[in-house]
């Protein structure tokens, strides 16, 4: 190799020859159409995915809400049932106004009638004191607006003249319904 020879040999360029393939750059219109179609497909896909996501989120939130409802209703039901079933001659009538606020539907009237017509008179005349305690409670079914429970309750009754209270065990089904944001008892019945 001599030092005068060029490092890179250049070929003579034929200017008449087209240096590039023109097909890929020339037609502007055919390219625009697939892009728009592709965008439309992508939009539809994104929309369907968004709908699916919303549906899943709603399902999951409802599941969580049902668990929350179950816990909230359990707390209210256990506290209120204990008080509904417990009374003393002195408080059996005076507690009724407060207790009525915890009840709804047919059970509101049923309970009011039971206390007014039967329980109050017996409690006062025979000096009966009843103390109820919930020994176990479980949830049978729960939705966001209605919770059904099973309660095991021990009821001890003390009458004037008898020193020892009588204790009875019972099984009670309670239904609580959400009314204007509050859990109210709509059913309370022995099973």
């Amino acid at each position: 190799m001599t030092s005068h020879e060029p490092m890179i040999k250049s070929e003579p360029i034929d200017l008449d020859e087209e240096p590039f393939e023109t097909a890929s750059i020339e037609p502007a219109a055919p390219v625009a159409a697939p892009t728009r179609r592709g965008l439309l497909v992508m939009l539809v896909v994104a929309l369907l995915l968004a709908v699916a996501l919303v549906a899943l989120v709603v399902i999951n939130q409802r599941h969580d809400a049902e668990a929350d409802a179950s816990a909230a209703a359990s707390e209210v039901v256990t506290a209120h049932v204990t008080q509904l079933l417990s009374y003393t001659p002195a408080t059996v009538v005076s507690d009724l106004d407060t207790e009525k606020e915890w009840l709804t539907g047919g059970f509101l009237d049923e309970y009011t009638a039971l206390v007014t017509d039967t329980v109050a008179a017996a409690a006062v005349n025979d000096k009966v004191t009843v103390k109820a305690s919930i020994v176990a409670h479980g949830v049978q079914a729960a939705s966001t607006v209605r919770v059904e429970m099973l309660l095991f309750i021990n009821v001890s009754t003390t009458r004037a003249g008898s020193a020892k209270p009588e204790t009875q065990g019972s099984r009670v089904r309670v239904v609580a319904e959400k009314v204007d944001g509050d859990w109210l008892i709509s059913t309370l019945a022995p099973v």
Partner: protein, 160 residues
């Protein structure tokens, strides 16, 4: 801004993010569903156990106890097996005929591993030599524990 101006990469990212979120929520939904199904299995098992102990006679008592023992595990299984022979003997000797029913069930507590089910049941029991049947109401708590792919009962008690 026209949608066509949004770069392809951004659009792809949106779709990918949606797919990711769907996968996450989907996993959660399917876990919730699995938990619900498992809880129902536990409740069904507690009911079956209480029905077996409250519904039996001289002929069926052996099979009933076998079925009950198969649902149990651990110390409780030992307890059930150890009293089985005596129990069968008494039922056959007294010609006990018991017909039980479930009056109500409730889940007292539940987790992935443990479930506690309350069962209210009633049994009508007749014995030889007694003219009338007796009706007994029960308050039973059934404890279950998750073992491999199924629930096992590891405790049953009368709620006092």
């Amino acid at each position: 801004m026209r949608l066509t101006r949004i770069p392809l990469a951004v659009r792809a990212l949106v779709v990918l993010a949606l797919l990711g979120a769907i996968a996450w929520q989907g996993v959660e939904a399917s876990a919730d569903r699995r938990d619900d199904d498992r809880l129902q299995e536990a409740v069904a098992m507690a009911r079956a156990q209480v029905l077996d102990i409250t519904t039996l006679d001289s002929d069926s008592v052996g099979a009933k106890l076998k079925a009950m023992a198969a649902r149990t595990s651990g110390d409780f299984q030992d307890q059930v097996t150890s009293i089985a022979a005596t129990f069968i003997e008494i039922v056959r000797e007294k010609k006990v005929v018991a017909t039980g029913r479930i009056d109500g069930v409730g889940v007292a507590s539940s987790s992935d591993r443990d479930v506690s089910v309350l069962v209210a049941s009633t049994a009508v029991v007749t014995e030889s030599g007694k003219a009338t049947s007796t009706t007994r109401s029960y308050r039973i708590k059934v404890s279950l524990v998750r073992a491999k792919d199924s629930w096992k009962i590891n405790g049953m008690e009368f709620v006092q």
